[in-house]
């Protein structure tokens, strides 16, 4: 909870590079950097996903993610946190979200990453649209995250 802990929150239409996000939280005082990357999958049930796109209520999403980080700092002994989420087109296999947390000890960092992605998926106003291949019936769906991890 000291003031030299840094937060990085970004909703971006640029490709997200894991190493760039992880480097933001590196610190010679930290022994551990834990990350989670969400990548788009090529299938949903029996349908082949052709493209995906993300949309966000950007200022509320940023505020909401910042709120989650503040809450995480109370729950877990962590140093710096970076959360990047992509909007716009996100081809299959691409990274849609990266969460990186540095910590002096590994357990708190890994637990914070796990908690942050769970909360992000149920609370932050971001939406994913899947467009299906014509070969499997076509169409498009706005997805809804289940509350199960």
């Amino acid at each position: 909870m000291t003031s030299n802990h840094k937060d990085f929150v970004c909703i971006t239409s640029d490709p997200i590079r894991l190493e760039a996000v992880a480097n933001l939280v590196h610190d010679p005082k930290a022994g551990a950097v834990s990350t989670f990357s969400g990548t788009t999958r090529d299938n949903f049930e029996d349908k082949v996903v052709k493209t995906l796109a993300y949309e966000a209520y950007i200022p509320m999403a940023e505020k909401s993610i910042q709120g989650l980080i503040d809450e995480a700092r109370v729950k877990f002994d962590i140093m710096h946190v970076a959360i990047y989420h992509k909007i716009g087109d996100c081809p299959v296999g691409d990274t849609s979200v990266v969460i990186a947390v540095s910590s002096a000890h590994r357990r708190s960092g890994l637990e914070a990453v796990s908690w942050l992605i769970d909360e992000l998926k149920v609370k932050v106003p971001i939406w994913k649209k899947e467009v299906y291949s014509e070969n499997t019936g076509g169409g498009a769906t706005w997805k809804a995250n289940s509350t199960l991890p």
């Binding site: 209520y57 149920v122 809804a144």
Partner: protein, 86 residues
């Protein structure tokens, strides 16, 4: 000075598909609670009805959880369909 007061509605994802727009200004009226707001929006955009049934409102970028809430002039109200980030 009987100037018309308004509030802004924001539409995202399935709500945007239903309204065919991402935002609109609506003339404000007093005592517009969430039940009345929903009725007003369905009247303007019938396609919103099934979406509103599963969505939340965010007012000035906060989820509403106060049942006594009513729309205030210049509020930014967003329909938040079930989220799917991550």
């Amino acid at each position: 000075m009987a100037e018309t007061q308004s509030f802004t509605m924001l539409y995202f994802a399935s709500a945007k598909d239903a309204t065919q727009t991402d935002s609109e200004k609506i003339e404000w009226s007093p005592s517009l609670d969430s039940t009345k707001l929903t009725a007003l929006l369905v009247e303007r955009h019938p396609a919103l009805k099934p979406i509103l049934a599963i969505s939340m409102y965010a007012v000035n970028m906060e989820y509403t959880d106060d049942p006594s809430w009513t729309v205030q002039p210049n509020d930014e109200v967003a329909i938040i369909p079930p989220v799917s980030g991550g």
